[in-house]
Amino acid sequence: MFNARLYVVFAVLAFVVAACGASGSGELQVNDVWARPGLAGGNSAVFFVIDNPDTEDFLLSASSDVAGAVELHKTIMEDGNMKMVHQMNVPVPTGETVFEPGDLHVMLIGLNGDMNPGDAFTLMLNFENAGEKTLKVVVREP
């Protein structure tokens, strides 16, 4: 009898917790994820769109086992000259933050193998508030 009551309490609690989660304005999402083709030993870059509906966040780091190192970078054009800047983190305000060619990108340094169009791999993004997001990245030409 006691156990049955306990189950009911837990069930109600679980429902309330789930309802609270769903009743917020939604959680941070990462869409349109893709990477450039690249050669073993070379570099590549991953691009995506972060949709952050709720609280200001920070992208702290990225990781994947397809490359020796994974870093956050930003391309800057100054008087027609290309410059890349290593980002220690990337602010993610509410709304869209776009990682795209010629701007922010996740840089894959020292690819462990060739990456050809149609290949797919996993990338983890670590956010300060939203925690870790696991993404499926598809390799394609821009």
Binding site: A45, G68, E71, M77, N81, G102, H105, I109, E141
Partner: protein, 200 residues
Amino acid sequence: MNTRVIRVGLGLVVLIGVVMAITLIIPSTENFRGTLYDPALPAAEINLTQGNGSNFRLSEKRGDIVMLFFGYTSCPDVCPTTLSEMKRVTAELGTDAEHVQVVFVTVDPERDTPQKLKEYVSIFSPAFIGLSGTMEELEKVWSDYGVYREEEQLPNSATGYLVNHTARVYLIDRDGNLRLSYSYGTPTDDFVHDLKILFK
């Protein structure tokens, strides 16, 4: 009143006709969408090493249009973006593409061997040519084309160092003249538009 209206109308028609005729007869340099070198300058010779180890001479490409770009294989963003654009441009030219040669000159000879460059440009098109050479040979080419390049050490990055560099595309016409250049991000259509004028 009616005669006046007819005269004005006829005058307008004649004026429009004259303007159209001038536009068609005189090839206007303003039609180009790239930045024009006016007058066109003889393109400085490029004498560097290509992937198979043989010498490449720009002067041997007379008769073809050369699209010249400077970059490096470790560059994950601007260089592949530009090479992808060049691939799209050549794809849209049809048979004229046989007379367009895309040439990618390294700004990072320390890491970019001719063989590595060949493999890199082949991702985009086996017809593209990647060139490297000694620092002395390359410094001459960079200087001749006004290319800025500077290594930037990144102690906290696995890249070791990055190379900041000019991201323009230079167009050398079929007579070997430096004719046009394009800033990074120029739409593919603009390249195709200018190339079609040059192939007329």
